[in-house]
Structures are given as structure tokens and as C-alpha cells.
Chain length 375, copies 2
């Protein structure tokens, strides 16, 4: 584990865990939700407001940043923290997932992935070593190994081949990281293996030999459904080391996160609160609502006056409805802000419940209020 | 003059004036710039940030608000201040200018303007009485008479006919206002007459008989050019009553405002800082720059660290350039914020200069820094 990076498990309540990750950029309270700041900005949010919602860490996307404005340029400007005016912790992904979903003319080999930029068609090569180099240029506090993330369903043989490639890339990522990383930065390994229990176990066992300071579960929330995702977590999480943070990548909606915390996961990221906020969906204690619905045109109530967030507290639903109907910037701005505040309040609620040994009651109440059945 | 509304002239430096308008919603320091909040929002700005730039008052557009969400709806929701979460002063225009520039199938008669909504084609009628009714439903602190605002050039005869219609509408507006307005609200008359000196003088003389608590100069910045606008102001302003605020409608760029303050005007509104900010133009002490220009891709300097504004101080031009290139919401958000901070700092600078009796030096420095020749 790198100097200056540590994880302390402070309490457990069944499989649910309360913890703190220490980094040179500050503490990350877990369970933690990381707002997604793809291109060096959490969309439609000034960073001060992101912080004020309770976020300890945001996520940046290596694929987007390497293409525009470019990792070397960000480094010359003082690194990603300074560039985006976010002095707190940043996690970057490896770029692998977005290369496979966004880039053109991809070619995957043992060496890495050759592709063309979706912006200008320029050729690029992403290898485990280049991914780490980029993440170090950006100055990410938590970095991710390059991996391959196949869709589900996938045949067992192909899933194992892909998983073993990811393990070999984990090893190469680790070597590159040891050469390039700054003190206090940490590299996480990523458990793959689709929805095959034996492959997930094999992936984790091989990564444990490499002794990462944190472990992610990747390749979920790719179409398998919530019940199947939870089933895989029930296989993997109990075998993950208790003393290391556990990151469930790309997850999810509130019920996904509550269910994953109940199964022992600690860290989450998802575009749901920001993307859906830009499109008029607000997450509330009673589930999501679409503010563009005519039912809200005369609704004088705010989204949630109990949240310590101006967007949730100081504007009527009628006003938010009007902003979306009129196509005003402030609509997406306020709904993004509210959704992030809702997500962070959800995380804070879970942390308090775990600390008090009443996580079961928290989940029961969440189930009752939202009507979610699969938890 | 209405109870609770007053104007105090605190100092003069040549024709330039320093003053304070008192309203039940707070003080308005003049010379004042009013950010435009057309549809119940200063575009891309949370109201707290508008306030933090130094704005004492914002402008709302009657035409937009009457069509969407509707004046009666805003009134039922507690008025425009509450609706848009702006507890400070609000000025609304009469709707006349936008009807003539935006609506479909307009028909102007002595009674008023019949038109179809540009949003859904619904028929509407805007009369002096209905305009005041709407402005009172919105709860505007400063309201404007309905007027006709002809383009320049226009023949003298047509300009006089139009001006006299505006005077008759001023009288009807005043009667309606006396019936409907709340204590502390004020109605301003609008001087018209295109760029004919005699018509401007006649318009003002007729309005003075109606004894408004404030007077606007309308029908400028409609294509006549800065020099011609200043020439008209030099005719009109000296004849406007010293003890009443003087509002130059729809003006302008920084040099327009500085030159108009130098000619004795007190209040201004313009979409320039907000609209140009959304399109990548930043106003600076050295004039406007286009942040999308490739020259800024690696520029580590902020727009203006001397401004007490996060958008001006905490982000490099390279970052702002990146945000616009990437099409991120935060680009327009930050440039709008910066531009409003720049405008408000410009107004504060003029107020301080007038108070200190060094307005001439202020104008000389502005001219030197910006390279503006017509001032």
C-alpha cells in the first residue's frame, strides 16, 4: 500500500461497512458516492457546489481527458485537481471501458487497445502502461488498472480469456504504477469474470497475489439486471479483503447502491444523478419524478426541504418545471445539484445507520419509501 | 412618488451622478447595471451568485413571463421574487418591445397590441392596462409604461405619431398603476422620439406633466450607432429632473454604459454579459476576448484575479477554453458569472470614482485600457 493512502474499517453491520480512506487530498468517508466528472467537470456543477453536497471525491474519465484537452496539457497546467479547481480526492478510470463503448475502429491485442478518437478520428493506443502514465499525468489519487469489460451474456470460455487478459494487464499496470506514481497515490485492481462465480473467484484470487491497496468489481451493471448483479456481489464481496476498500464500478441508481452496501461494497460512481438531472428527472425519498410532467406546473413545494441544499430547498417544483419547459440552463443546473445532494444524503444516511447498528432498519425504510422490491 | 420608493442623488461629477434608489426590497446603488432575467432566471446563474456579483436589481421580461409560465400562475405561487428566489428588487419592462420583435401577427392600434404567442400561437392582447396588471401580478418593484419603440431611421412625422401614442399610453399606464400597484412600487415613464431632438424634448416635457418617480430613455441602441445615441443623450439627459432616476433601456456594452454615465444616466440593462458569456465571449479590462480561440488552450492565467468572483479568479483560461471546446455546461455558467462580475465591478468603479470626484480619470483609464475611442 502506498505511503499516505490507507483504509480504516470503522464499523460493520452485517456485511455493510463504515470506513475512511485517507489520502493526501483528504478523507473519503465510505460508503462513498463519487460524482462523475467525465471531461474535467461534474456536468453543470461548479466544484464548490459539488463539495457542498458532501462529496469527498469525484471521478474523471481517462479516455475523455486523454483526447481533450490531453493528459500532457493538463499536467503542464498543474494537474487535474488544479485544472478543474477541485482540491479534494480524484479517482480516474483506466479509459478501457470508454474506449470500447465510444471510440471508433477499436483493435484489442495483448499489448492494449488501438483506436481512433470519436472527436477527430486521430489514432491512439491505450496500453496498461500508457493508461497509468496518463493517470499519473492527471495526478489521480486513486487510479485503476486497464481491464477489459465484456458485456453479459458471454460464453464461459471467452469470459475466462478476457478475465485472464485483465489479470495480465493488472500486473503490467502495477509495474508501471510503481515506476511513475507519486507518494499517497493508489492503484486498484479490478475483479472481472462476467457472471460466472468460478471466474469471479479466480480473478479475485489472482489479483490478491498482486496485493492492491483497493479492489474494484467491474463488468457489472452491463445489462445483467439488479438481481443478478447482487448475486455476483454475494459471491465476490465476502472473499474481498476486509481491510481494503471495495469499489463497485459504474453503479448505480439509489436502490443499486443501497443493495450493494448491504452486500459489503464501499465505493460507487454513476452518471445517473447528473445525467438524469439534466433531463428533468429528480430523485426523491419517494423515488424518481419527472419535473417536466404537467402535474408540477403549479406545485409550490420544493423537492426536499430537509436536504441542506439550495436546489432542493429554495425553489418550488413549479419553478423547476417552468425552467425545463422554457429550456433554461438553470433547470439542469438545479436538478443536477439536487440529485447529487440526494445521493450524498443517502450515503450519509447509510453511514450513520451502519455506525448506529441499524442498517437493517435503514434498508427497510428505504424499501418502504421508494417501493423498491429488489434490495 | 409612491410611498417607500425614493431616489437620493448623493454626488455629481460633471453630468455623472451617484445615487441610491430605496425600495421595500432594498437599495439600488446607481449607476446600476441590471442583469436580464428574461424568463424568471438570469440565464445560467443561480440567484445567489447574481447577488454575489454585486447586483441590487434584476430585470424580468413581461412578454416572456405572461406567455410562460403566465402572470396569474406566478402570482398564485407568491409573485416573481419568490418564484425565482430573488428577494431583492426587480424591474419589469412593459412587454411592448418584445411583442414587436418576437411575437407573430402583431396588430398595433390605439387600444394596444394584438399578437400571437411565438411559443404556441395563442392570441393575446397587450394594452397599457394589461401590461400594468401583469407587472403588478408579478410584483415588480419598478414597472415600465407600455410604449412603442420604432426602429431608427424613421421619418419625423411617423416618429412624432409614435411618440404621442407612447405618451397617451403613459397616461393610461399611470392610471392603471394607481389603481393596482402596491405601496413602494414605482412606475417609470419612457422618453421616445427616435433621434429627433425636438421630439425627444416634447416627449420628456409631456411625461414630466405626468410626474413619474423615474424616467427612462427608450428607443435607443436600435441601430443608430454609439455616437448618435450619445448625441441624443446629450439633448435629453440635461432636461431630465435631477431628483429622479434615469434609466437607459437595453444598453449596453461597457463603453456604451461608461459613456452614458458620463452623460448623466443612472440605470442600465443589457443581455450582452449573459448572452455573450454563453457564446464564449469574456469581457475584460482590456476589452472582450473569445475564450474559444486556440490562443487560450494553454493559458494558465485566470480571466481577472482582481475580481472577487470565483469564475474570474479560480479557473485558468485554458480550462474555460476546454469547457467550451467540450461543450460543457460549466463553460457558459462560468463565463456568464465572470461577465456579470466584470459589469458590476465596472459600475462599482464608476460609483467610487464619482464619489471621489475623479470620474474623468476613470473614463480616461477605461479608454486607455480598452482602446475604445467613442466615449
Amino acid at each position: 500500500m502506498s505511503d499516505g493512502f490507507s483504509f480504516t474499517l470503522e464499523a460493520s453491520d452485517g456485511p455493510a461497512r463504515l470506513g475512511v480512506i485517507e489520502t493526501p487530498r483528504g478523507k473519503i468517508r465510505t460508503p462513498a458516492f463519487m460524482p462523475v466528472g467525465t471531461a474535467g467537470t461534474v456536468k453543470a456543477m461548479p466544484p464548490d457546489n459539488v463539495r457542498a453536497t458532501g462529496a469527498d471525491i469525484v471521478l474523471g474519465n481517462t479516455y475523455h481527458l486523454m483526447l481533450r484537452p490531453g493528459a500532457e496539457r493538463v499536467a503542464a497546467l498543474g494537474g487535474l485537481h488544479k485544472f478543474m479547481n477541485w482540491p479534494h480526492a480524484i479517482l480516474t478510470d483506466s479509459g478501457g471501458f470508454q474506449v470500447m463503448s465510444l471510440a471508433k475502429l477499436r483493435k484489442l491485442t495483448e499489448e492494449g487497445v488501438a483506436f481512433q478518437s470519436h472527436i477527430d478520428g486521430a489514432p491512439h493506443m491505450l496500453t496498461p502502461e500508457r493508461s497509468i502514465e496518463i493517470q499519473c499525468l492527471l495526478g489521480a489519487d486513486i487510479q485503476m488498472q486497464l481491464d477489459e469489460c465484456p458485456a453479459i451474456p458471454i460464453a464461459h470460455g471467452a469470459a475466462r480469456e478476457s478475465m485472464l487478459l485483465s489479470v495480465r494487464w493488472a500486473e503490467r499496470s502495477r509495474r508501471a504504477f510503481e515506476e511513475k506514481a507519486a507518494p499517497g497515490q493508489a492503484l486498484f485492481g479490478i475483479v472481472q469474470g462476467a457472471n460466472y462465480d468460478d471466474l469471479r473467484r479466480e480473478s479475485l484470487a489472482r489479483l490478491l497475489e498482486l496485493d492492491f491497496p483497493g479492489y474494484a468489481v467491474g463488468g457489472l451493471a452491463v445489462g445483467e439486471g439488479r438481481a443478478e448483479m447482487f448475486r455476483v456481489l454475494e459471491i465476490v464481496a465476502p472473499e474481498m479483503p476486509a481491510g481494503r476498500p471495495r469499489y463497485l464500478m459504474g453503479v448505480g441508481k439509489p436502490a443499486d447502491i443501497v443493495g450493494a452496501v448491504a452486500r459489503g461494497m464501499d465505493m460507487f460512481d454513476c452518471v445517473a444523478p447528473t445525467r438524469s438531472g439534466r433531463h428533468g428527472q429528480a430523485w426523491t425519498r419517494r423515488g424518481p419524478i419527472n419535473i417536466k410532467n404537467a402535474a408540477f406546473a403549479d406545485d409550490p413545494e420544493p423537492l426536499d426541504p430537509s436536504l441542506d441544499c439550495p436546489a432542493s430547498r429554495d425553489y418550488s417544483k413549479a419553478y423547476l418545471h417552468h425552467l425545463f419547459r422554457a429550456g433554461e440552463y438553470l433547470g439542469p443546473m438545479l436538478l443536477t445539484w439536487h440529485n447529487l445532494a440526494y445521493y450524498q444524503a443517502l450515503m450519509a444516511g447509510m453511514r450513520a445507520a451502519i455506525a448506529a447498528g441499524r442498517f437493517g432498519a435503514f434498508v427497510a425504510r428505504f424499501r418502504e419509501e421508494t417501493g423498491e422490491t429488489i434490495l
